[in-house]
Amino acid sequence: MFPYLSLILWLPALGALALLATPREQHQTARSIALAVSLLTFVISLALPLRFNAADPSMQFVEQVAWIPQWGISYHLGLDGLSLWLVVLTTFLIPIALFATWNSIHAQVRYFQILMLLLETAMIGVFIALDTILFYLFWEFTLIPMAFMIGIWGSGNRIYAARKFFLYTFAGSVLMLMGIIGLSFLHRDATGAELTSFSLTQIMGDIRTGAFALEFGMEQLLFGLFFIAFAIKVPMWPFHTWLPDAHVQAPTAGSVILAGVLLKLGTYGLIRFNLSLFPNASEWAAPAIGILAVIGIIYGAWIAFAQTDMKKLVAYSSVSHMGFIVLGIFALNEIGITGAVLQMVNHGLSTGALFLIVGYIYERRHTREMSEFGGLWTVMPIYGGLALVMVLSSVGLPGLNGFIGEFAIMQGAFISPALGWGYVAVSVIGVVLAAVYLLRMYRETFMGEVNKPENAELKDLSGGEIGMMVALLVPIVVIGLFPTLFFAPMQASISEVAQAFRSVVAEGQ
């Protein structure tokens, strides 16, 4: 079988190596090579949904090579319905982010491209690693390029933001490492195997068959270790304060990837680890986590309303939107979880687009304060129109992608015994508040009169900028009208998560 996953995983890293060989001052060469490599990766990654067998709930495109056999660590990759679209989202957003740097990154261009490609490898690795140690390595490796991007190419208080981002997430990861090691040792003891195994599929399989049963207290402990790491990454309220700092200082391309993909590592981990490995503890914790998610939905939306910096507004909107995703995950049923996975993709598309939109105007005016603008729709009609569609996607207008995800999430939470209508009744307020803060932003910046002379001569979007927007717009509309195309491949795997979960929980009771 052709090693698609290894190819997609390592191609960007190879591109980064190749970039090292190019002359430092030839910015255009570096940009072109990086973009070409990322586009090639994207094209190859399209083979994944095309060759994916939607009826098969297990891992596909599996590659496994022993790595440190004494400890049971292997190079083990695989893809299922949960990770499929997240990988494609990653390979899709990286070229867009790289293209966005064309006019905005001028210092040390080559290094920026190298870091971006390394980041791509690391992020894909997180989504397809089936060995927990391998997963952990990729997980930690995502931190380094992003911290450098914020610290070197950021603005304002960038060192503080980069350090906070790094330390905060790292603190969570260390707990997860404890969890990973503890899990494998407990697994070895429980199954009586000679060697430890760090194979996620094996541990998960043994949990589902009952060969590996955790004591409830231990399950809660391990659940907590993983949960904190992921909750910081998501970020869930109240672990969110690194996010606005990081976003505001990060360059546009960094923000697109940070919001578009990096946050999803957290929600992906919640499903892959917490839900799949610790069903009893998941059910135990779901009501409390649901409350945190709902607080995040309302709090993020409320605080976004008070922002005057557009980028900070979008950053806080992420806290609200990610709250919805966590709510869907802890609905613990097919509708909620598939809705959450789709919403991860949706949020990557629409928030990525919103960060680009803020970036476009920042490049032209070097400010993101809403009070500096007004009447942009008149000066830049194409920009205004596209920005409106992206805002509406984020608001959750039916017909566009955001609505589908939010509706499935809330419907899942509504029928979930773990959560129920009370959670939905509060989180639905978030749907109203999203319109409040996003339309306020749109009104302040795009509507009204052109009352600042520096805005009167602004150039409308260039062909390339329109191209990026349209590239994002196509999936936004397609998901809005034909979400079943995206739901269908994840159905089998996610129903496995929910099903296995249900049976284990039923036995436990």
């Binding site: 309303f305 729709w377 009609p381 509504f414 009104r443 079943t484």
Partner: protein, 654 residues
Amino acid sequence: MLDLIWLIPLLPFIGFLINTLYTGRIADVHTRERTAGYVAVGAVGAAFIVALLAFVQLGQLPEEARLHQVVLWTWLATGSLNVPFGLMLDPLAGVMMLLVTGVGTLIHIYSIGYMHGDKRVARYFAYLNLFITMMLLLVMGNNLLLLFLGWEGVGLCSFLLIGYWYEKRSASGAAVKAFVVNRIGDAAILLAMMAIFFYFGTLNFFTTTVNGIEYPGFIEETSRIAGVTVGIPGQTFLIGTIISLLLLIGVTGKSAQLPLFVWLPDAMAGPTPVSALIHAATMVTAGVYLIARTHAIFTPTTLAIVTWVGALTAIIAATAAIAQWDIKRVLAYSTVSQLGFMVAAAGMGIYVAAIFHLLTHGVFKALLFLGSGSVIHGTHETQDMRRMGGLREHMPTTFWTYLIGALSLAGIVPLAGFWSKDEIIAHAWKHQGDAGYILPVFFILVLSSAMTAFYMGRQMALVFWGKQRDHHYHPHESPSVMTIPLVILAGLTVLAGALNLPGSHWLTDWLHPVMREEAAQFSIGVAVFATLLAAGSGYLGWWLYAVKFANKITVDGKDPLYHWTGDIWDSMAAAWYFDALYNSTIVPAYRRVAGFFAAVFDPQGIDGIVNGVGRLFGRASNGARTLQNGFVRTYALAFFLGVVVIIGYLITAL
């Protein structure tokens, strides 16, 4: 033909795409404007023709077979959720669809004249076409989720068109306000949908089978939740009551009922044809359609509340309409009031009467709004009625058509408004024994309709009688592209009552497969009483402002009646301060909490703890660092202490 009903919403959507992607790029201003208008009118006109053909064909089917569903594709399917992108045509959807495309076509034509010379006219027509598409999805969707897509879609178009002249701060504010207030209602509908799916496992209205897949419907299954309750011990609610109350909240948003009506008067910031199409004839009636469509789920408890909401809205808005100076705001409050009549009718269980009034009102209120647009156009953007006066000589066609519309709204026999309103009032009178609240509702509605006649008399007098009070403009009649739609609508206003005349009751029969209602009973006594009351108060309104106070009306002056009523008049003009109340409580409170979160709670509270933890580790490591200071004597001391501890341990352990 019936399998092609998807063409009806598709055609205006194609118009939208052409005007968005192509027409805007035409360099020549005149060609651009002409192309935009022709494309838009052609698209909606073609939709009207297809709709008419489909409607006729539906009528040829036997009565019980008049429900045709077309599933275009599976829209949202995951887990047990399976919602098709499906359209349906039944008698109710049919009349709505004809109203939307018919009145819509006339308003599109009128817009060619009204929007002449506007610099963004391609965008205007694109929005208008998109609105028609969304409105058609709303009335033709075969499930609640698709209805909701149309519901929010028309809300979006409303936002875009209210904010069409977005340079004006008031327009952009009104646009955002309309969207947000509607979203409050929409959130309730979302909850209602989820509850319906939870209890019925489907969002489809009626069962249909496509390609062997059965999509069950919930309307026929409502008996399943009869008597099922939720709640805390001692206080339980019927599921049906909760779901229908949630739907009602949605209705109060979209159909501008108490307490969410505050967005509609502001919505008049949009171009006048938009007010006619969206904020009078079609979109705002969607709430009434929703109640009629899902009436099976409404319980007596909810229906009583629905009735009260409608009746109170009717009278509050009627009083507000009396005290307005802006020609469009009179009509806006009048629309709120008439929607109250429809909602009250639905609450009393006479859905046919509600739909009847919806249809006639759609015609004559569109006429009135377009007429007011003609007045505004002919007086060079004047909207304040104090600056008008004597226009009947300068604008004869506008005057005569407006008069027909006003008489119809006032409920003068034999115009359309009389028949539909009378059906509601007569029912309340005849069924006063059904429940304790029907009789007070009857009086409220009668009083409201007397006020309706009064404010229309006042408006006719202020606009068309007397002498021109402001001479900054030269009034002129509008071009025929605007007056022809007025004449057609006036004709329909005369005739539309025939839809459901007592004795023939065509509409009741037509809607019978959906509503299963008996024909309304006509009461000659109520009819005579209501007509005399309307004629009397209408004449009073006209006489006061055209004769008695004719000389006391001045530009920017107070209303002559203000001297008699004082604060009451001010309260009426402010629509009893609902808007002011929200603006002085909810809005600033929301702002203040947001500011507190952003400036204090998040950076100092939550992030303070995070940074505090960071600093704690920093301090601790600083402390630890001082131990390693490079002095041999310190290390020797540590070594010595260590030895003491170990020896001490060994001694105690032994």
